[in-house]
Protein backbone atom coordinates (compact mmCIF):
# COMPACT_ATOMS: atom_id res chain seq x y z
CA UNK A 1 0.00 0.00 0.00
CA UNK A 2 2.99 2.29 0.38
CA UNK A 3 4.39 1.25 -2.98
CA UNK A 4 3.24 2.44 -6.35
CA UNK A 5 2.02 -0.07 -8.87
CA UNK A 6 4.79 -1.68 -10.93
CA UNK A 7 2.61 -1.40 -14.04
CA UNK A 8 3.67 2.18 -14.83
CA UNK A 9 0.89 2.99 -17.28
CA UNK A 10 0.65 6.63 -18.32
CA UNK A 11 -2.13 7.23 -15.80
CA UNK A 12 -0.04 5.72 -13.01
CA UNK A 13 2.94 7.92 -13.85
CA UNK A 14 0.81 11.04 -14.20
CA UNK A 15 -0.88 10.30 -10.89
CA UNK A 16 2.51 9.88 -9.28
CA UNK A 17 3.83 13.13 -10.77
CA UNK A 18 0.79 15.12 -9.69
CA UNK A 19 0.76 13.68 -6.16
CA UNK A 20 4.50 14.11 -5.61
CA UNK A 21 4.22 17.57 -7.18
CA UNK A 22 1.61 18.52 -4.57
CA UNK A 23 3.74 16.98 -1.82
CA UNK A 24 6.84 18.91 -2.93
CA UNK A 25 4.74 22.07 -3.15
CA UNK A 26 3.53 21.67 0.46
CA UNK A 27 6.97 20.75 1.82
CA UNK A 28 8.68 23.49 -0.21
CA UNK A 29 6.13 26.05 0.94
CA UNK A 30 6.68 25.21 4.61
CA UNK A 31 10.48 25.21 4.22
CA UNK A 32 10.51 28.53 2.36
CA UNK A 33 8.16 30.08 4.87
CA UNK A 34 10.46 29.06 7.74
CA UNK A 35 13.39 30.58 5.81
CA UNK A 36 11.81 33.85 4.70
CA UNK A 37 8.94 34.20 7.13
CA UNK A 38 6.52 35.30 4.43
CA UNK A 39 3.79 33.25 2.76
CA UNK A 40 3.36 34.82 -0.74
CA UNK A 41 6.93 34.22 -2.01
CA UNK A 42 6.95 30.77 -0.39
CA UNK A 43 3.71 29.79 -2.14
CA UNK A 44 4.84 31.28 -5.46
CA UNK A 45 8.30 29.69 -5.50
CA UNK A 46 7.17 26.26 -4.36
CA UNK A 47 4.16 26.39 -6.71
CA UNK A 48 6.35 27.20 -9.71
CA UNK A 49 8.84 24.51 -8.65
CA UNK A 50 6.12 21.88 -8.24
CA UNK A 51 4.53 22.81 -11.57
CA UNK A 52 7.88 22.67 -13.39
CA UNK A 53 8.50 19.24 -11.88
CA UNK A 54 5.13 17.91 -13.06
CA UNK A 55 5.36 19.43 -16.54
CA UNK A 56 8.95 18.31 -17.13
CA UNK A 57 8.04 14.82 -15.92
CA UNK A 58 5.08 14.68 -18.28
CA UNK A 59 7.10 15.77 -21.28
CA UNK A 60 10.33 13.97 -20.53
CA UNK A 61 9.37 10.36 -19.96
CA UNK A 62 12.83 9.04 -18.93
CA UNK A 63 12.83 11.54 -16.05
CA UNK A 64 9.41 10.48 -14.81
CA UNK A 65 10.24 6.77 -15.14
CA UNK A 66 13.49 7.32 -13.27
CA UNK A 67 11.70 9.27 -10.53
CA UNK A 68 8.92 6.68 -10.35
CA UNK A 69 11.34 3.78 -9.98
CA UNK A 70 13.51 5.63 -7.47
CA UNK A 71 10.47 6.57 -5.38
CA UNK A 72 9.19 3.00 -5.43
CA UNK A 73 12.57 1.62 -4.42
CA UNK A 74 12.74 3.98 -1.44
CA UNK A 75 9.06 3.31 -0.60
CA UNK A 76 9.69 -0.43 -0.51
CA UNK A 77 12.70 0.00 1.77
CA UNK A 78 10.76 2.30 4.09
CA UNK A 79 7.81 -0.13 4.07
CA UNK A 80 10.09 -2.97 4.99
CA UNK A 81 11.61 -0.91 7.82
CA UNK A 82 8.16 0.13 9.08
CA UNK A 83 7.02 -3.50 9.12
CA UNK A 84 10.10 -4.55 11.06
CA UNK A 85 9.81 -1.65 13.51
CA UNK A 86 6.07 -2.02 14.15
CA UNK A 87 6.15 -5.79 14.54
CA UNK A 88 9.17 -5.55 16.87
CA UNK A 89 7.46 -2.94 19.04
CA UNK A 90 4.19 -4.89 19.10
CA UNK A 91 5.98 -8.06 20.08
CA UNK A 92 8.36 -6.68 22.70
CA UNK A 93 6.08 -4.07 24.24
CA UNK A 94 2.70 -5.82 24.05
CA UNK A 95 3.04 -9.57 23.51
CA UNK A 96 6.01 -10.13 25.79
CA UNK A 97 4.60 -7.93 28.54
CA UNK A 98 1.26 -9.75 28.41
CA UNK A 99 3.15 -13.06 28.43
CA UNK A 100 5.06 -12.02 31.57
CA UNK A 101 1.86 -10.94 33.28
CA UNK A 102 0.11 -14.28 32.79
CA UNK A 103 2.76 -16.92 33.13
CA UNK A 104 0.47 -19.65 34.45
CA UNK A 105 -1.31 -20.06 31.13
CA UNK A 106 1.86 -20.24 29.13
CA UNK A 107 2.57 -23.65 27.59
CA UNK A 108 6.19 -23.10 28.61
CA UNK A 109 5.41 -22.54 32.25
CA UNK A 110 7.41 -24.87 34.42
CA UNK A 111 4.53 -26.35 36.43
CA UNK A 112 2.01 -26.55 33.63
CA UNK A 113 1.20 -30.16 32.91
CA UNK A 114 -2.18 -29.84 31.25
CA UNK A 115 -2.24 -30.39 27.52
CA UNK A 116 -3.34 -27.49 25.39
CA UNK A 117 -4.48 -29.87 22.67
CA UNK A 118 -8.04 -29.26 21.62
CA UNK A 119 -9.98 -32.04 20.01
CA UNK A 120 -11.72 -31.08 16.84
CA UNK A 121 -14.75 -32.85 15.51
CA UNK A 122 -15.11 -34.31 12.06
CA UNK A 123 -15.15 -31.63 9.40
CA UNK A 124 -17.57 -31.40 6.57
CA UNK A 125 -16.20 -31.74 3.07
CA UNK A 126 -16.77 -28.10 2.16
CA UNK A 127 -14.73 -26.92 5.12
CA UNK A 128 -11.48 -28.12 3.54
CA UNK A 129 -11.29 -24.99 1.45
CA UNK A 130 -10.49 -22.90 4.51
CA UNK A 131 -10.44 -24.64 7.83
CA UNK A 132 -8.45 -22.13 9.78
CA UNK A 133 -10.65 -20.27 12.25
CA UNK A 134 -13.64 -21.11 10.16
CA UNK A 135 -15.98 -20.65 13.07
CA UNK A 136 -15.07 -16.96 13.32
CA UNK A 137 -15.26 -16.11 9.66
CA UNK A 138 -17.87 -13.66 8.58
CA UNK A 139 -17.88 -15.22 5.15
CA UNK A 140 -16.03 -12.25 3.79
CA UNK A 141 -12.70 -11.80 2.08
CA UNK A 142 -10.25 -8.95 1.76
CA UNK A 143 -11.21 -5.99 3.93
CA UNK A 144 -13.54 -8.01 6.18
CA UNK A 145 -10.61 -9.63 7.90
CA UNK A 146 -10.85 -6.98 10.64
CA UNK A 147 -14.31 -8.23 11.60
CA UNK A 148 -13.16 -11.84 11.44
CA UNK A 149 -10.19 -11.04 13.63
CA UNK A 150 -12.38 -9.19 16.11
CA UNK A 151 -14.79 -12.14 16.35
CA UNK A 152 -11.91 -14.55 16.73
CA UNK A 153 -10.38 -12.49 19.60
CA UNK A 154 -13.64 -12.43 21.51
CA UNK A 155 -14.80 -15.93 20.61
CA UNK A 156 -11.56 -17.71 21.36
CA UNK A 157 -11.01 -16.10 24.76
CA UNK A 158 -8.08 -14.00 23.49
CA UNK A 159 -9.70 -10.63 24.05
CA UNK A 160 -6.36 -8.93 24.78
CA UNK A 161 -5.35 -9.52 21.14
CA UNK A 162 -7.82 -6.81 20.12
CA UNK A 163 -5.10 -4.38 21.18
CA UNK A 164 -2.84 -5.77 18.48
CA UNK A 165 -5.34 -4.72 15.83
CA UNK A 166 -3.87 -1.21 15.31
CA UNK A 167 -0.47 -2.79 14.69
CA UNK A 168 -1.95 -5.27 12.25
CA UNK A 169 -3.61 -2.39 10.43
CA UNK A 170 -0.31 -0.55 10.18
CA UNK A 171 1.39 -3.71 8.92
CA UNK A 172 -1.36 -4.07 6.35
CA UNK A 173 -0.87 -0.51 5.14
CA UNK A 174 2.90 -0.97 5.08
CA UNK A 175 2.64 -4.02 2.86
CA UNK A 176 5.30 -4.19 0.17
CA UNK A 177 5.24 -3.95 -3.57
CA UNK A 178 1.86 -4.05 -5.16
CA UNK A 179 1.28 -6.93 -7.52
CA UNK A 180 2.02 -6.04 -11.08
CA UNK A 181 -1.12 -6.06 -13.17
CA UNK A 182 0.81 -7.16 -16.20
CA UNK A 183 0.81 -10.94 -16.57
CA UNK A 184 4.11 -12.69 -16.92
CA UNK A 185 3.37 -13.65 -20.48
CA UNK A 186 2.37 -10.32 -21.80
CA UNK A 187 1.38 -11.32 -25.32
CA UNK A 188 -2.26 -12.14 -24.97
CA UNK A 189 -5.24 -11.01 -26.94
CA UNK A 190 -7.96 -11.83 -24.49
Amino acid sequence: MMSLTKRMARRDVTGFLVTTGILFFVIGMILLWTLFGSWPPAILASGVGGLLYVVSGLYWQPLSIFAYRAWNRVANRVASFVRWWVSSIAFHVVVRVVGQASGSKSPNARHETRSFWEQRGTLTADSYVGQYNRAYRGGGRGGRWVGDYWRWCLGSGNGWLIFLLPFLLVLRIASGERESEVPENVYTLY
Binding site: A9, T14, V97, G159, F167, V182, N185
Partner: protein, 352 residues
Protein backbone atom coordinates in the same frame (compact mmCIF):
# COMPACT_ATOMS: atom_id res chain seq x y z
CA UNK B 1 -8.98 -13.94 35.95
CA UNK B 2 -5.92 -14.58 33.75
CA UNK B 3 -7.64 -13.34 30.64
CA UNK B 4 -8.76 -10.18 32.48
CA UNK B 5 -5.17 -9.52 33.57
CA UNK B 6 -3.95 -10.00 30.01
CA UNK B 7 -6.66 -7.69 28.72
CA UNK B 8 -5.74 -4.95 31.19
CA UNK B 9 -2.00 -5.29 30.61
CA UNK B 10 -2.52 -5.21 26.83
CA UNK B 11 -4.79 -2.16 27.19
CA UNK B 12 -2.00 -0.35 29.03
CA UNK B 13 0.89 -1.57 26.90
CA UNK B 14 -0.76 -0.96 23.56
CA UNK B 15 -0.86 2.90 23.69
CA UNK B 16 2.77 2.95 24.81
CA UNK B 17 3.73 0.71 21.91
CA UNK B 18 1.71 2.87 19.51
CA UNK B 19 3.60 5.93 20.71
CA UNK B 20 6.87 4.14 20.02
CA UNK B 21 5.78 3.34 16.47
CA UNK B 22 5.10 7.02 15.75
CA UNK B 23 8.55 7.83 14.27
CA UNK B 24 8.19 4.99 11.77
CA UNK B 25 4.65 6.08 10.93
CA UNK B 26 5.79 9.65 10.33
CA UNK B 27 8.53 8.36 8.07
CA UNK B 28 5.99 6.32 6.12
CA UNK B 29 3.42 9.12 5.86
CA UNK B 30 4.65 10.75 2.59
CA UNK B 31 4.81 7.38 0.88
CA UNK B 32 1.30 6.47 2.00
CA UNK B 33 0.06 9.85 0.85
CA UNK B 34 1.66 9.53 -2.59
CA UNK B 35 0.47 5.93 -3.08
CA UNK B 36 -3.06 6.90 -2.01
CA UNK B 37 -3.00 10.02 -4.20
CA UNK B 38 -1.85 8.00 -7.18
CA UNK B 39 -4.63 5.45 -6.68
CA UNK B 40 -7.19 8.24 -6.41
CA UNK B 41 -5.88 9.86 -9.60
CA UNK B 42 -6.01 6.59 -11.53
CA UNK B 43 -9.56 5.96 -10.30
CA UNK B 44 -10.71 9.47 -11.21
CA UNK B 45 -9.06 9.24 -14.61
CA UNK B 46 -10.91 5.96 -15.16
CA UNK B 47 -14.23 7.53 -14.23
CA UNK B 48 -13.81 10.83 -16.06
CA UNK B 49 -11.83 9.65 -19.09
CA UNK B 50 -13.09 7.97 -22.21
CA UNK B 51 -14.11 4.39 -21.51
CA UNK B 52 -11.78 2.14 -23.47
CA UNK B 53 -13.10 -0.78 -25.46
CA UNK B 54 -12.15 -4.23 -24.29
CA UNK B 55 -10.21 -6.35 -26.76
CA UNK B 56 -13.24 -8.58 -27.17
CA UNK B 57 -15.35 -5.60 -28.16
CA UNK B 58 -12.92 -4.74 -30.96
CA UNK B 59 -13.53 -7.87 -32.99
CA UNK B 60 -16.32 -9.76 -34.72
CA UNK B 61 -16.47 -13.32 -35.93
CA UNK B 62 -15.10 -13.66 -39.45
CA UNK B 63 -15.83 -16.93 -41.28
CA UNK B 64 -12.80 -19.04 -42.06
CA UNK B 65 -10.28 -16.67 -40.51
CA UNK B 66 -11.80 -16.62 -37.02
CA UNK B 67 -12.12 -12.94 -36.17
CA UNK B 68 -11.63 -9.51 -37.63
CA UNK B 69 -11.72 -5.98 -36.20
CA UNK B 70 -15.10 -4.29 -36.40
CA UNK B 71 -15.48 -1.85 -39.31
CA UNK B 72 -15.71 1.93 -38.86
CA UNK B 73 -14.59 1.94 -35.26
CA UNK B 74 -13.49 5.15 -33.63
CA UNK B 75 -12.64 4.21 -30.12
CA UNK B 76 -10.16 4.13 -27.33
CA UNK B 77 -8.49 0.94 -26.14
CA UNK B 78 -5.85 0.06 -23.58
CA UNK B 79 -2.44 -1.38 -24.23
CA UNK B 80 -1.10 -4.18 -22.04
CA UNK B 81 0.28 -1.69 -19.56
CA UNK B 82 -3.10 0.02 -19.28
CA UNK B 83 -2.29 3.11 -21.36
CA UNK B 84 -5.19 4.34 -23.47
CA UNK B 85 -4.75 4.85 -27.21
CA UNK B 86 -7.13 5.98 -29.90
CA UNK B 87 -7.87 3.85 -32.93
CA UNK B 88 -10.04 4.01 -35.98
CA UNK B 89 -10.80 1.23 -38.42
CA UNK B 90 -11.87 1.56 -42.04
CA UNK B 91 -14.93 0.10 -43.73
CA UNK B 92 -13.17 -3.28 -43.95
CA UNK B 93 -12.20 -3.31 -40.30
CA UNK B 94 -8.48 -2.73 -40.83
CA UNK B 95 -6.67 0.09 -39.13
CA UNK B 96 -7.51 3.26 -41.03
CA UNK B 97 -4.67 4.56 -43.19
CA UNK B 98 -5.50 8.02 -44.58
CA UNK B 99 -2.61 7.83 -47.06
CA UNK B 100 -3.82 4.53 -48.56
CA UNK B 101 -7.56 4.93 -48.96
CA UNK B 102 -7.55 3.53 -52.48
CA UNK B 103 -4.61 1.54 -53.78
CA UNK B 104 -1.54 1.26 -51.56
CA UNK B 105 2.10 0.75 -52.50
CA UNK B 106 2.79 -1.51 -49.56
CA UNK B 107 0.43 -3.96 -47.87
CA UNK B 108 1.49 -5.12 -44.44
CA UNK B 109 0.04 -8.36 -43.10
CA UNK B 110 0.48 -9.25 -39.48
CA UNK B 111 -1.02 -9.54 -36.03
CA UNK B 112 -1.31 -6.91 -33.33
CA UNK B 113 1.86 -5.22 -34.65
CA UNK B 114 0.14 -4.70 -37.98
CA UNK B 115 -3.01 -3.57 -36.19
CA UNK B 116 -0.99 -0.99 -34.28
CA UNK B 117 -1.80 -2.29 -30.82
CA UNK B 118 -0.95 0.34 -28.22
CA UNK B 119 -0.43 3.07 -30.83
CA UNK B 120 -2.71 5.98 -31.52
CA UNK B 121 -3.66 6.66 -35.13
CA UNK B 122 -1.27 9.57 -35.60
CA UNK B 123 1.73 7.46 -34.50
CA UNK B 124 0.77 4.27 -36.33
CA UNK B 125 3.58 3.23 -38.72
CA UNK B 126 1.25 3.15 -41.71
CA UNK B 127 0.22 6.74 -41.06
CA UNK B 128 3.55 8.42 -40.37
CA UNK B 129 4.74 8.43 -43.98
CA UNK B 130 2.81 9.55 -47.03
CA UNK B 131 5.11 7.75 -49.45
CA UNK B 132 5.07 4.87 -49.98
CA UNK B 133 1.39 4.53 -49.18
CA UNK B 134 1.11 1.79 -46.58
CA UNK B 135 -2.00 -0.18 -45.72
CA UNK B 136 -1.92 -2.58 -42.82
CA UNK B 137 -4.14 -5.66 -42.79
CA UNK B 138 -3.99 -7.38 -39.46
CA UNK B 139 -5.65 -7.91 -36.14
CA UNK B 140 -4.69 -8.73 -32.60
CA UNK B 141 -3.79 -12.36 -32.09
CA UNK B 142 -3.56 -13.46 -35.73
CA UNK B 143 -1.22 -16.27 -36.66
CA UNK B 144 0.51 -16.60 -40.04
CA UNK B 145 -2.19 -18.96 -41.29
CA UNK B 146 -4.88 -16.31 -40.85
CA UNK B 147 -2.64 -13.73 -42.49
CA UNK B 148 -2.00 -16.01 -45.47
CA UNK B 149 -5.75 -16.56 -45.85
CA UNK B 150 -6.26 -12.79 -45.87
CA UNK B 151 -3.52 -12.42 -48.47
CA UNK B 152 -5.39 -14.92 -50.62
CA UNK B 153 -8.65 -13.01 -50.12
CA UNK B 154 -6.96 -9.72 -51.06
CA UNK B 155 -4.86 -11.17 -53.89
CA UNK B 156 -6.15 -8.82 -56.59
CA UNK B 157 -5.54 -5.81 -54.38
CA UNK B 158 -1.90 -6.81 -53.99
CA UNK B 159 -1.15 -6.75 -57.70
CA UNK B 160 2.18 -5.03 -58.36
CA UNK B 161 2.57 -3.97 -54.75
CA UNK B 162 5.10 -4.82 -52.09
CA UNK B 163 3.71 -7.23 -49.51
CA UNK B 164 5.29 -7.08 -46.08
CA UNK B 165 4.66 -10.01 -43.79
CA UNK B 166 5.33 -9.51 -40.08
CA UNK B 167 6.39 -12.66 -38.27
CA UNK B 168 6.37 -12.07 -34.52
CA UNK B 169 8.34 -14.68 -32.58
CA UNK B 170 6.32 -14.26 -29.39
CA UNK B 171 3.33 -16.29 -30.57
CA UNK B 172 3.12 -16.58 -34.35
CA UNK B 173 5.51 -19.49 -34.75
CA UNK B 174 3.79 -21.50 -32.04
CA UNK B 175 0.22 -20.54 -32.75
CA UNK B 176 0.49 -21.57 -36.41
CA UNK B 177 0.12 -25.02 -34.87
CA UNK B 178 -2.76 -24.40 -32.48
CA UNK B 179 -6.49 -24.55 -33.20
CA UNK B 180 -7.52 -21.76 -30.84
CA UNK B 181 -6.54 -18.56 -29.15
CA UNK B 182 -8.25 -18.44 -25.80
CA UNK B 183 -11.92 -19.03 -26.48
CA UNK B 184 -11.63 -18.13 -30.17
CA UNK B 185 -11.15 -20.76 -32.87
CA UNK B 186 -8.44 -20.12 -35.42
CA UNK B 187 -7.14 -21.93 -38.52
CA UNK B 188 -3.84 -23.72 -38.12
CA UNK B 189 -1.47 -25.97 -40.06
CA UNK B 190 -0.70 -29.64 -39.53
CA UNK B 191 1.87 -31.91 -41.01
CA UNK B 192 0.28 -34.60 -43.17
CA UNK B 193 3.30 -36.79 -43.87
CA UNK B 194 6.94 -37.22 -42.99
CA UNK B 195 8.07 -35.57 -46.23
CA UNK B 196 7.27 -32.21 -44.78
CA UNK B 197 3.92 -31.64 -46.45
CA UNK B 198 1.49 -29.50 -44.52
CA UNK B 199 -2.11 -28.51 -44.84
CA UNK B 200 -4.26 -25.71 -43.52
CA UNK B 201 -7.05 -26.80 -41.20
CA UNK B 202 -10.00 -24.48 -40.80
CA UNK B 203 -13.04 -26.76 -40.62
CA UNK B 204 -13.34 -26.23 -36.89
CA UNK B 205 -13.49 -22.42 -37.19
CA UNK B 206 -16.90 -21.18 -36.12
CA UNK B 207 -18.37 -18.61 -33.73
CA UNK B 208 -18.72 -21.40 -31.17
CA UNK B 209 -16.62 -20.88 -28.08
CA UNK B 210 -13.54 -23.09 -27.76
CA UNK B 211 -14.30 -24.92 -24.56
CA UNK B 212 -10.85 -26.06 -23.48
CA UNK B 213 -9.33 -23.56 -21.08
CA UNK B 214 -5.58 -23.27 -20.86
CA UNK B 215 -3.05 -20.75 -19.68
CA UNK B 216 -0.72 -20.47 -22.61
CA UNK B 217 2.90 -20.02 -21.59
CA UNK B 218 4.09 -17.92 -24.51
CA UNK B 219 7.58 -17.24 -23.24
CA UNK B 220 7.96 -20.92 -22.32
CA UNK B 221 7.05 -21.87 -25.90
CA UNK B 222 9.33 -19.21 -27.37
CA UNK B 223 12.21 -20.50 -25.22
CA UNK B 224 11.50 -24.00 -26.51
CA UNK B 225 11.49 -22.74 -30.10
CA UNK B 226 14.85 -21.08 -29.41
CA UNK B 227 16.24 -24.56 -28.61
CA UNK B 228 16.82 -27.53 -30.89
CA UNK B 229 13.55 -29.20 -29.92
CA UNK B 230 10.83 -31.07 -31.84
CA UNK B 231 8.61 -28.01 -31.35
CA UNK B 232 11.14 -25.71 -33.01
CA UNK B 233 11.52 -28.04 -36.05
CA UNK B 234 7.74 -28.22 -36.32
CA UNK B 235 7.32 -24.45 -35.94
CA UNK B 236 9.93 -23.69 -38.59
CA UNK B 237 8.53 -26.41 -40.87
CA UNK B 238 5.12 -24.75 -40.65
CA UNK B 239 6.65 -21.31 -41.23
CA UNK B 240 8.46 -22.59 -44.34
CA UNK B 241 5.20 -24.01 -45.73
CA UNK B 242 3.34 -20.76 -45.14
CA UNK B 243 6.09 -18.51 -46.50
CA UNK B 244 6.32 -20.71 -49.61
CA UNK B 245 2.54 -20.36 -50.13
CA UNK B 246 2.76 -16.62 -49.59
CA UNK B 247 5.62 -16.32 -52.08
CA UNK B 248 3.68 -18.31 -54.70
CA UNK B 249 0.63 -16.14 -54.20
CA UNK B 250 2.64 -12.93 -54.55
CA UNK B 251 4.29 -14.19 -57.72
CA UNK B 252 0.88 -14.89 -59.22
CA UNK B 253 -0.14 -11.25 -58.78
CA UNK B 254 3.26 -9.80 -59.58
CA UNK B 255 3.78 -8.61 -56.01
CA UNK B 256 6.99 -8.73 -54.02
CA UNK B 257 6.97 -10.49 -50.70
CA UNK B 258 9.17 -9.26 -47.88
CA UNK B 259 9.25 -11.10 -44.57
CA UNK B 260 10.06 -8.91 -41.58
CA UNK B 261 11.04 -10.92 -38.58
CA UNK B 262 9.90 -9.44 -35.27
CA UNK B 263 11.74 -10.88 -32.29
CA UNK B 264 10.12 -10.26 -28.93
CA UNK B 265 11.48 -7.34 -26.93
CA UNK B 266 12.98 -9.89 -24.55
CA UNK B 267 15.07 -11.24 -27.42
CA UNK B 268 16.27 -7.72 -28.30
CA UNK B 269 17.08 -6.65 -24.78
CA UNK B 270 20.43 -8.18 -23.91
CA UNK B 271 19.94 -7.28 -20.27
CA UNK B 272 16.77 -9.41 -20.09
CA UNK B 273 17.26 -12.19 -22.63
CA UNK B 274 18.62 -14.46 -19.89
CA UNK B 275 15.04 -14.54 -18.52
CA UNK B 276 14.05 -16.37 -21.68
CA UNK B 277 17.09 -18.65 -21.49
CA UNK B 278 16.04 -19.63 -17.97
CA UNK B 279 12.83 -21.10 -19.36
CA UNK B 280 14.58 -23.16 -22.01
CA UNK B 281 13.96 -26.89 -21.87
CA UNK B 282 17.35 -27.62 -23.48
CA UNK B 283 19.60 -24.80 -22.23
CA UNK B 284 22.64 -26.24 -24.00
CA UNK B 285 21.03 -25.67 -27.41
CA UNK B 286 19.33 -22.34 -26.52
CA UNK B 287 19.99 -19.58 -29.00
CA UNK B 288 17.98 -16.40 -28.59
CA UNK B 289 18.46 -15.69 -32.32
CA UNK B 290 17.42 -19.16 -33.51
CA UNK B 291 14.03 -18.00 -34.89
CA UNK B 292 15.69 -15.11 -36.75
CA UNK B 293 18.36 -17.38 -38.19
CA UNK B 294 15.84 -20.05 -39.17
CA UNK B 295 13.49 -17.55 -40.83
CA UNK B 296 16.41 -15.95 -42.65
CA UNK B 297 17.49 -19.37 -43.93
CA UNK B 298 13.93 -20.25 -45.00
CA UNK B 299 13.61 -16.96 -46.87
CA UNK B 300 16.99 -17.45 -48.52
CA UNK B 301 16.01 -20.90 -49.74
CA UNK B 302 12.58 -19.74 -50.89
CA UNK B 303 14.08 -16.60 -52.46
CA UNK B 304 11.99 -14.25 -50.37
CA UNK B 305 13.34 -10.92 -49.21
CA UNK B 306 13.96 -10.86 -45.52
CA UNK B 307 14.67 -8.29 -42.83
CA UNK B 308 14.79 -8.47 -39.07
CA UNK B 309 14.12 -5.67 -36.66
CA UNK B 310 16.88 -7.00 -34.43
CA UNK B 311 19.61 -4.40 -34.53
CA UNK B 312 17.11 -1.94 -36.01
CA UNK B 313 14.89 -1.40 -32.99
CA UNK B 314 16.00 -0.90 -29.41
CA UNK B 315 14.14 -1.85 -26.23
CA UNK B 316 13.38 1.84 -25.80
CA UNK B 317 11.31 1.66 -29.00
CA UNK B 318 8.78 -0.46 -27.13
CA UNK B 319 5.99 0.53 -24.77
CA UNK B 320 7.08 -0.01 -21.21
CA UNK B 321 5.52 -3.23 -19.85
CA UNK B 322 4.26 -4.18 -23.27
CA UNK B 323 5.69 -6.12 -26.19
CA UNK B 324 4.46 -3.64 -28.81
CA UNK B 325 6.10 -0.58 -30.32
CA UNK B 326 5.75 2.93 -29.00
CA UNK B 327 5.50 5.97 -31.26
CA UNK B 328 9.25 6.01 -31.92
CA UNK B 329 9.24 2.29 -32.65
CA UNK B 330 6.43 2.82 -35.16
CA UNK B 331 8.39 5.60 -36.87
CA UNK B 332 11.44 3.37 -37.14
CA UNK B 333 9.40 0.53 -38.61
CA UNK B 334 7.99 2.97 -41.16
CA UNK B 335 11.60 3.94 -41.99
CA UNK B 336 12.48 0.28 -42.47
CA UNK B 337 9.51 -0.30 -44.79
CA UNK B 338 10.38 2.85 -46.74
CA UNK B 339 13.99 1.63 -47.13
CA UNK B 340 12.84 -1.80 -48.27
CA UNK B 341 10.44 -0.24 -50.74
CA UNK B 342 13.22 1.90 -52.19
CA UNK B 343 15.35 -1.17 -52.91
CA UNK B 344 15.01 -2.98 -56.26
CA UNK B 345 11.69 -4.87 -56.13
CA UNK B 346 12.89 -8.20 -57.37
CA UNK B 347 15.99 -8.14 -55.24
CA UNK B 348 16.50 -11.33 -53.34
CA UNK B 349 19.25 -9.68 -51.39
CA UNK B 350 18.80 -9.94 -47.69
CA UNK B 351 19.22 -6.55 -46.05
CA UNK B 352 21.37 -6.66 -42.94
Amino acid sequence: MGSLIRFVVAALASPVALLLTLPALLMALPFWAVAAGQRLWVRLAGILGEQPLSLDALVDYYPGVGWKPKPNLSASALDQAGNPYSLTTDADGWRASPHARGQADVYVFGDSFAFGFGTSDRDFFANVCASPRIRAIGANGYNLVQELMLMEQHAELLRGAMVVWFVYHGNDLYENLTPNLGRYRMPFVRQIDDDGDWEIVSEHVSPKRWSLREDRDYYGKLAEICCGTPLSSKAFGAARFLIRRGKRLCEEVDATLVVISLPDVLQLDTSRSHLLAKRASHPESFDVDRPDKALREICKQEEVRFASIKGFLKPSDYIYSDVHWNARGNRRVADLIRALYAEPRRSSAIPE
